[in-house]
């Protein structure tokens, strides 16, 4: 990854993404341009089918655009070797999913430590850092519990901990509050905002939750695969 400070963290240029759905072609993104700077707390909002999750997946390297380019620190994702792409996801990007998506047979601490172990960090340090981050998200006491023994809000906090423990540059959160009640959702957003402000982690959300939109400092609205509007708070 490049180290030029002025270069945007993420840039999407004229990104088009089409899917085949049987005999039909679905135009999920129809030429999207987006630039994200380091430290942003940005939400992609829009109704279902607007392309927000698709754009998030493209930024995360989980999918490739039909045309156009997505760059992270100037490097074009779609031209990366799969191993490079995998390394980028492992070391530079954290993911928070709508459905928590913790590994059910691992404890909270083990879930958080998982990505560090994939990075090859020694087990003792993995355990220590995992516990530290769980403490940051207020779940140190639940470190030994498995996801089934945690509430929805607790699981999502563990997911956030897992996403940030490797100190990624960016966290991509796909509808993180969708399965949470409003109070729990607000707590989660407070946490993420704190991480953004204190540690400089860039957050990019996809959401149709008004509460998330209110929390974000920049709101990009998508509609039918286009960016319909942008506003900063």
């Amino acid at each position: 990854m490049g180290s030029e400070d002025r270069m945007p963290l993420i840039s999407a240029q004229n990104v088009v993404k089409d899917y085949r759905d049987g005999d039909t072609t679905v135009h999920a993104l129809r030429g999207v341009d987006l630039v994200l700077e380091e430290g942003e707390f940005t939400a992609l909002a829009g109704p279902s089918g607007s392309g927000k999750t698709t754009l998030l997946n493209l930024v995360g390297g989980l999918d490739t655009p039909t045309s156009g380019e997505v760059r992270i620190r100037g490097e074009v994702i779609s031209s990366m070797h799969p191993r490079q792409l995998h390394g980028m996801r492992l070391h530079h990007i954290g993911f928070v999913f709508q459905a928590f998506n913790l590994i059910p047979v691992l404890s909270a601490q083990e879930n958080v430590a998982f990505t560090m172990q994939l990075q090859g960090i020694p087990p003792e340090e993995c355990r220590r850092r995992a516990l530290e981050v769980l403490d940051q998200v207020g779940l140190a006491a639940e470190a030994g519990r498995r996801p089934a023994a945690l509430s929805g809000g607790q699981q999502q906090r563990v997911a956030v901990a897992r996403a940030i423990v490797t100190r990624p540059e960016i966290v991509l959160a796909d509808e993180p509050t969708a399965n949470l009640d409003s109070e729990t959702g607000a707590d989660l957003l407070d946490l993420m905002k704190h991480l953004n402000e204190e540690h400089g982690i860039t957050f990019l959300f996809s959401t149709h939750d008004p509460m998330v939109m209110d929390y974000s400092r920049r709101l990009v609205r998508l509609h039918d695969g286009h960016i319909a509007s942008e506003q900063r708070t």
Binding site: L62, H86, F95, F97, N101, I103, P104, V105, L118, A163
Partner: protein, 411 residues
Amino acid sequence: MKTLLILSWRNIWRNKRRTFILVCAMMAGLVGVLLSMGLTNSWLVQIKDNAVRLFAGHIKIHAAGYHDRPSVEFALAPTARVTERLGADPRVKAWAERVSVQALLSTASQSRVINLVGIDPEAEVGVSVILDSVQEGVPLDAWDQPGRPILIGRRLADRIERGLGKKLVLMSQQSGNNEVGSGAFRIAGIFDSGNGGFDESHVYIFKEDAQRMLALGDRITETVIMLHDMEQSDLVAAELRAMVEGDAMEALSWRERLPLVEKTIEMSRQMMIPYYAIFYVAMAFGILNTLLMAIGERTHEIGVMLAIGLNRWRLIGMILLESLLIAILSVFVGAASGWGLVAWWGARGIDLSSMAEGLAYMGVSRIIYPSLRSADLIGASAAALAVALVFALYPAWRASRLAPVEAIRSD
């Protein structure tokens, strides 16, 4: 690696019932293979043992050419050099000199060709089990009635309808002339070796009686040798052969004299492989089905793991580990159970009296004793592990081809 191991171990217990069923199925398959091996070993060992114990011995020394044409013309005087050598060799357990030729056995109503064996009972007891197999009457050296004693087999006694004390006449070519030697003998004992074919074709008299009848003087036709360790037969035979070659003699191990026995054993083992394969194919489909189901259920989770940084090779490794762990459990329990069952059955024996006649002609006794070699246990277990790994490759490959985005979308 440790994390993947922990993950794999916990994954296999997500569905305890399914894993338990699969382990039981694989265990049953392995037990089936081991039992089959045990049974196969029992009759293969019998074929070999009977051939050796009843008559062939571990090694025989005789005149060159005698093996191909066992005739009285090949009789030789005992060689002191040979007996001294045998006496000094710690590997040699026992040896005995014999006169062994084909002869005609006659009664008032019938005649048949048999193998006439003249023995020294005191030496013979160390090289064959015949004298211990006398079921009726007495062994040769316990005969205290008038007439020369003869031991015949149970089946022969039934065929010629003669019992203890009855008279038989033996005739055979004498040595050194064109005369036919003959002698009358009284049945002193009837033996039952468990091998009906052998019992019907062999009779035993004193070596001296045979020598007199065949005008041999002090000559013998063969020296039979038993070793403490049968596996050294080829080695010791080679050494003896080198020693006696110059005297127009040869020393042959049981393998060299009975190549058909060895080939039969080897061929029988090979022929059982397709049968064992049936068990392994069943295990393979069990593994394949279980893993495909498990991966289907975990597609979403696999997509997430790929998204957060698990690479495809580690994913494949994780799935292979799951299969291997199930197999290790199954092998552990299956091997212990199979070994235990074979040992239990081997101690008691399996009575196959209903098939005695057919078994007899194969050189197999009525009662068989299953047994397993270490190589059987290791081979069968290793094959189970290999099957588990090989048949996990396809599910693992399938999982590794999942596109994270599509996988995450699935339920």
